[in-house]
């Protein structure tokens, strides 16, 4: 069992979190899911940047 902690968020933020929540999803789960999604988005953006901007060379050409 992971230990818990308390963070201070505004009522507005809490409402926003609730908005993103799914059926009976805890705040902890909502935040975790959003963070994971954001992480993937960030990684995908980085990968796409490589795809778009980097020059790729074929191993056959090396």
């Amino acid at each position: 069992m992971m230990s818990s902690t308390t963070i201070d968020v505004s009522a507005h933020t809490k409402d926003l979190l609730l908005h993103f929540g799914r059926d009976r999803e805890s705040y902890d789960h909502i935040i975790r899911r959003l963070v994971e999604e954001a992480g993937w988005k960030e990684m995908d953006a980085r990968w796409n940047k490589i795809l778009d901007e980097d020059e790729f060379i074929s191993l056959d050409e090396l």
Binding site: I50, D54, L59
Partner: protein, 182 residues
């Protein structure tokens, strides 16, 4: 002498040709041994069976659902390789080690690419940025590909200063074993 050069001098080479493995010691890279042994055993097994499966090598490949265009994650031992499939090419975007998460782009130690799944692909591309800083030793495809199995091994040495995330020079070995002739 830069650490990278020292490392190059120490580094071990892997030659995987026709399913036979030739390697020298791994004085500074012990983690590579079980990893490669496992991989090579698997490859040998497939070769021994004379697999006719041209569509998939049995590699652990997972589409990354949250990516656009769709990327794939190939798992080889502790390493994760990210690539996309674009027409007849497979750009390899990223390689990292498990546990370092998907956020440690530069933490590449070994690059092993097994793209048998995409055996129809004519080319496998890797970002040139992976080659900007360092020294390379590149082995041409095995000409003794009696099993219609051509492989390329490249190894790359990165300078420790080339990427801030590196504390030591690292070797990256690329193994391309992608083409089964039709």
């Amino acid at each position: 002498m830069p650490d990278g050069i020292k490392y190059l001098m120490k580094m071990s080479l892997f030659l995987l040709m026709n399913c036979d493995v030739f390697c020298s010691g791994f004085p500074d890279f012990p983690e590579a041994i079980p990893f490669l042994a496992k991989y090579i055993a698997r490859t040998n097994q497939k070769c021994a069976k004379g697999t006719g499966n041209k569509s998939r090598s049995g590699a652990d490949i997972k589409p990354l659902k949250n990516t656009n265009p769709l990327k794939y994650r190939l798992r080889v031992g502790e390493y994760r390789i990210i690539y996309v499939v674009k027409d007849d090419a497979v750009p390899v975007i990223d390689v990292f080690k498990r546990g370092k998460g998907y956020t440690r782009y530069s933490n590449m130690v070994i690059l092993i690419i097994d793209l048998l799944k995409h055996s129809h692909c004519a080319f496998i591309h890797i970002p040139i940025s992976h080659f900007h800083n360092g020294l390379y030793m590149i082995y041409p495809p095995s000409t003794a590909s009696s099993a219609s199995y051509s492989q390329v091994i490249t190894s790359r040495l990165l300078h420790p200063n080339s990427l801030p995330a590196f504390s030591n020079a690292v070797i990256s070995l690329s193994l391309i074993s992608s083409r089964f002739d039709a």
